[in-house]
Symmetry: C2
Subunit: 337 residues, 2 copies
DNA sequence: CATCAATATGGGAATGTTCCCGTAAAATGG
DNA sequence: CCATTTTACGGGAACATTCCCATATTGATG
């Protein structure tokens, strides 16, 4: 069980040197003779020596690891964000460890503890839809470990955030539906714990207001994002005395699900009912009819968040900034509207 | 920059105890008085104390971290595998650090070095399509760190592997096309460096043989999985004097791309040309016409691989097994065939 | 009241590395 | 050829924790 690891001491002993000298060679320190340098490098290669980052991290009080906590892993959204973050992190010399909060508050808390115990140098977080208490994250501030939020942010905390212009994206999407002569536009909204839900809802309302279309509260359905429930809500909408002629959904999975249901009912999309989503998931261009949606620069969200985090790590705590980076969305008009 | 971390020594000093006693409380050792136990736990809570896993890992020569290296992050396949692995790992008390080899050999090698330096207790790997040399992985064996391959395995190495019955899946898919009266079935194959490509190709050949359909080498096109090239190959196939009436694609992204191209040409799917994919990606059920495909238990691949790895970690090196777990695929017949 | 056992606590080594501080030997300068 | 600088290397502390061994205190037992 307890196998021996090759250490600099092993190399030092074999060459009758001190560990200091070996360390100097391996870290590229200049004051060491060419002869010993060669000998050390050769032996290190031959023994498959690999420096032990644990001890280095311990010594430096810096792990070169950043944590990323995401609420789900089902849609392509978060994997792509992670990919963007990974790229920047790798470039800057950081490893990434991933936490999956599974949309539950307790798991999120457990994950933050793990991240702390593993001495991450910084944390990227997208919150659970349940998260209302932020003590587990404020610990990081107290300990001087920077946090950057993305997508699902905590508005109370004064830290960098990366979001997209949800309000404007929603506004444009609804405006587009109005220009397509839709008069009764429903909104399958997200839970009001999430700022993204609130902002997209505001965009929806303001677009209707601008074009003097009465807002019918009956057509606004906030839900908890569990896809299975979409069916209930869509059926409910369709059975109204005055059913909607368009649906603006909080995100693409919701829109796609709604579209499937509507099609199954034998209704024509977009003639009978138009549908617009949000995020431009991979599948939305492939579905029939293809889905009109508001695209987000997903990978860029990850990379800018990671970049902001690394910047923050390199800054003294007294100079921490709390920039909010708002990335642009783009309305992609396809056949569902 | 150098902020102070709360350690057991801090707690010990504040309570006039030794670090040994504090350590005992925190690790749940019995021989400590109720009074001091309470005092320590209270102070620890109050100071946001978190044990430093780096030092514990260093001391135990065990990091409770496993590495996972995947070749790409674009399809939903690997994120889902990771999710499955993550679940098991978390349950067994392991963190996961992710490496992204980006389908290039050099990056894969660099990633394995990082994993070694970070003292992973085990490694999950799915190889790059380029990888032909395995020295960077054999180092792990020499160092006594178990490896488990999944999906893209190295057949020369005597370690556990998790794959699906690629041969049978391909065989069934092609058989299905034959039963649909298709006579000229093309195969968009993967690179022959990958065992999955080879096995699926064998399944394809054997199915044709079984039904006495002549194998036309012109209809077999191995390619390097860069989606952009699918267009070239599909166009080429369609321009043949005797064009195919069906395409069996190595994976779903390829099939989906082929389907789009075929549709754009004005051909009817599946009447003029049927299409079958492999993997049952999220999008394949949504596309129009929906894609017939061979589904893989993706999440299960991740979880069994992780389980095998953890088993291996807990075993003495002399008792390492090299189980090959072959998971079942299932033909999902949809409208594209 | 002496002896012994049990209970609670302290001391110190060990994990692998870096870096500061010494210092011997070699090289340079007059 | 001696003094001084440079070069090359060694010794040891520090990082946070665990665990073994030692020891002081308490209580029980004869």
């Amino acid at each position: 069980m307890k196998r021996h690891q090759i250490t600099i001491v092993d190399i030092a002993e074999k060459l009758n040197l001190s560990k200091s000298t070996v360390s100097r060679v391996l870290t590229g320190h200049p004051s060491v003779s060419e002869k010993t340098r060669k000998a050390v490098l050769e032996l290190a290669e031959q023994l498959d020596y690999q420096r032990n980052m644990l001890s280095i991290s311990l010594l430096n009080k810096k792990s070169n690891t950043i944590g990323i906590i995401v609420p789900e892993f089902i849609s392509s959204y978060f994997p792509q964000v992670i990919m963007g973050a990974q790229e920047v992190a790798a470039k800057e010399g950081y490893n990434i460890i991933i936490g999956h909060s599974n949309e539950t508050y307790e798991t999120e808390v457990a994950n933050t503890r793990l991240m702390l115990a593993n001495q991450v140098d910084g944390l990227l977080v997208s919150l659970t839809k349940e998260t209302r208490n932020f003590d587990h994250l404020k610990v990081f501030e107290r300990k001087g470990i920077p946090i950057v939020f993305f997508n699902r942010v905590c508005e109370d905390m004064n830290v960098p955030k990366v979001v997209v212009d949800d309000y404007e994206g929603a506004f444009r999407a609804v405006e587009h539906l109005i220009k397509r002569k839709k008069k009764r536009i429903a909104h399958l909204a997200g839970p009001d714990t999430l700022p993204i839900s609130v902002k997209r809802l505001r965009g929806y309302r303001d677009a209707l207001k601008k074009y003097n279309i009465p807002i019918d509260e009956e057509l606004i359905i906030p839900y908890d994002l569990t896809i299975a429930k979409v069916k209930i809500y869509v059926n409910h909408l369709l059975r109204l005395d005055n059913p909607p002629d368009a649906i603006f959904a909080i995100n693409d999975p919701t829109a796609i699900e709604a579209l499937q249901i509507v099609k199954k009912k034998g209704l024509q999309v977009p003639k009978d009912i138009a549908i617009v989503g949000f995020s431009n998931d991979y599948a939305s261009g492939l579905i029939e009819p293809s889905l009109t949606t508001v695209s987000q620069p997903v990978k860029e969200i990850g990379s800018t968040a990671a970049q902001l985090l690394v910047d923050q790590i390199n800054r003294d705590i007294s100079e921490w900034k709390s920039i909010i980076r708002v990335l642009k969305t783009e309305l992609i008009v396809r056949k569902s509207s």
